[in-house]
Amino acid sequence: MAYVPLADQDDAHALHDPQSFVTKYIWSQDHKVIAIQYGGVAIFVGLIALGLSILMRLQLGFPDTVSWINPAFYYQAVTMHGMIMVIYLLTALFLGGFGNYLIPLMCGTRDMVFPFLNMLSFWFYLVSVIILLASFFVPGGPTGAGWTLYAPQSISHGTPGSEGGILLMLISLAVFIIAFTMGGLNYVTTILQARTRGLTLMRLPLSIWGIFTATVLGLFAFPALLVSAIMMGFDLVLGTSFFMPAMMELGAQNDHEGGSPILFQHLFWFFGHPEVYIVALPAFGLVSDVISTHARKNIFGYRMMVWAIIAIGGLSFMVWAHHMYVSGMNPYFGFFFATTTLVIAIPTALKVYNWVLTLWQGNIRLNTPMLFAIGFIFTFVHGGLTGLFLGNVVIDVPLADTYFVVAHFHMVMGVSPVLVLFAALYHWYPKVTGRMFNETIGKVHFWCTFLGTYAIYLPMHYLGFLGVPRRYYEMGNTDFIPETAQVLNANITLAAIFVATAQILFFINIFWSLKHGEKAGGNPWGATTLEWQTPDTPPKHGNWGDELPAVYRWAYDYSVPGMDKDFVPQNEPGEEYEKNAHHKGA
């Protein structure tokens, strides 16, 4: 059967524009609407997780001031905060939100290759969120087993939420994974198959490379979570012993025998570590494009950046057990995983150098998206450096159960991706809405968030050195910790409340600007990539009007010598192929 590429098929067929409100905005198959739906739900559920973190911090900074925060609720808040932030906010917003919005636009297509599947993906995601939130309303509340859901703790009687919360969590995760798989198949196939004329793989913007590689990681890593969720569900509901060993529960012998809790940890982290990069790689990609655009300079070492993304993706499947150094594993295993962990630092550091070298001698515009992008470089370097410490077994063992780990992963995996999210939300806001946001409020939002998060997490490293244990509802007989630690703890809480409150600025800005912002025009930043070259802003259904764009150059032709403008859009025809006389970039 002769294969007709999608882009050609689309040119030949008339587009069926959705007519009614329902098909246009609710049961929509348009990737842009689905992206906004994904983004809206992810941000909504993220706010719930933010609220939970403030409640935790209140208990830690000012113990027993809020009377209804009891130990059970504290653990439920810890668990739900972690799971929501990592999976239902970050994964969903980067891939479901930005992936959906940017892939067809940056690849010059009219939509994803399977729009119906794409719509289903969002609705499954919404159902998974509803199931997750429903666990707040079942007897016993949501699970309080920690976001890692370690067996046997998570399904033992006496753990908060062991009545129904844990089951809802497992079902919600399974539904989320189905949603992700449907979306992921779309993202990968669209990028591989449906790129427009002239858009070779090496002309793709790094955002697409990041989203592509992260989606591949997700497609291969989420099955591990699915397997562990199904097996844990069996243990919970059917009484099998995959993970549950024979042990005493609430003073009585339980009904299980021989289950392996370590097996659960291996499965969980075989998903869990790639998950870090499922979040980080899209962030790397998006931030590269933001930095290059606002520095008016081509990204330094484009090919290295692409290969680094792929290398990090590959290596991320070989490091999972560095989360398990204290699980009693064989020291030789520890040595192996410490080595692979430290090897990941090489491509990661390469990316950081390249971002900084992109800024070097650039014509930097310090606007809101750029501030967030540069802020990300700082927090990511800090989080990355503490990761080098924790990657070594001998240093990890004493620090594993302290605030040092909390500070490390919040810096590298919480603050850093969130700063990129803000950079990206501000950067693409004019394209999505057609309006500019308020620059002053945006900058105030940046400084409050950036300095505020440092006020939270920098002191936390010192608490970790002092040996302040993580996961504790309140400090017990920990005489070795000086009393001043509590002063620091209280200040961290105040900083956390400040940062959380500052996020109101973001919402005021984006909602106010929807109506009152200046008209943005098609390409307010003077960017080269295709999404800024659409005939309409916001792009209409089908994105490109009558004719799909053709791509004549790579995505980073900024400040090309001899050109009138300081950027050349990807779809601007140029001299002939392989005839470029200028030596641009590294």
Partner: protein, 208 residues
């Protein structure tokens, strides 16, 4: 290899439309097939992890191997036949250039799906017999793994049958011959994939 050439190119040095004006998909096949290959890879990861878990759990002392029922051989035979039907249906459709309801290819694909339903019924009855014989899930982890592995495999097959059912419906309604051929080829690929997965699982179950 064009893929290699693509990813080693210096994009900043080249302006213009490489290789003419055609869009260049990475793989010269319909998008549905690309998506199916990716999905099959995900599913393979899922089954591999289940098998690894099986081996790790086996090492714990309480493991009592489950005697594999003979009927599994019959079921396996039915699944092989089902896969063969799809295979020949595809060959037939290539020869005649179309698939119609009631044609050779149409009948073979109908038979393939029905045999798959037979396989599922067979797997269900094996499980029912084992349960009746007292080999419950709680009794031993080996039993639990048997139900888990066969169950997840059957779930994948049910997903395939959903697509097959839709294709049969479209055939009966006399849909576009090109669409029908693609659906048939997708079913055939997926059936072969699930046969290979089942062969692996079956070997695991009879050899341990």
């Amino acid at each position: 290899m064009s893929f290699y050439r693509d990813v080693t190119r210096k994009p900043w040095n080249t302006v213009g439309l490489p290789e003419g004006i055609d869009p260049r998909p990475a793989f010269n096949m319909p998008n549905e097939k690309v998506a199916l290959i990716i999905f099959a890879t995900c599913a393979s990861v899922l089954f591999s992890l289940l098998v690894v878990s099986y081996f790790i759990r086996m090492t714990v002392g309480d493991w009592v191997p489950l005697a594999t029922p003979t009927m599994l051989w019959v079921n396996t035979g039915v699944l092989v036949l089902s896969s063969l039907c799809f295979h020949f249906a595809v060959l037939q459709s290539r020869k005649t250039g179309s698939v119609r309801f009631g044609s050779g290819a149409g009948l073979l694909s109908l038979a393939g799906g029905l045999l798959a339903i037979g396989f599922i019924v067979g797997q269900y009855s094996v499980s029912a017999q084992l349960l009746a014989a007292g080999h419950g899930l709680r009794v031993n982890a080996a039993n639990a793994f048997f139900y888990l592995l066969t169950g997840i495999h059957v779930l994948h097959l049910l997903g395939g049958l959903w697509v097959w059912g839709k294709a049969q419906l479209r055939l009966a309604l006399g849909s576009d011959a090109k669409d029908a051929r693609l659906s048939l080829e997708l079913c055939a690929w997926y059936w072969h994939f699930l046969l290979v997965i089942w062969a692996g699982l079956f070997y695991l179950l009879i050899s341990t």
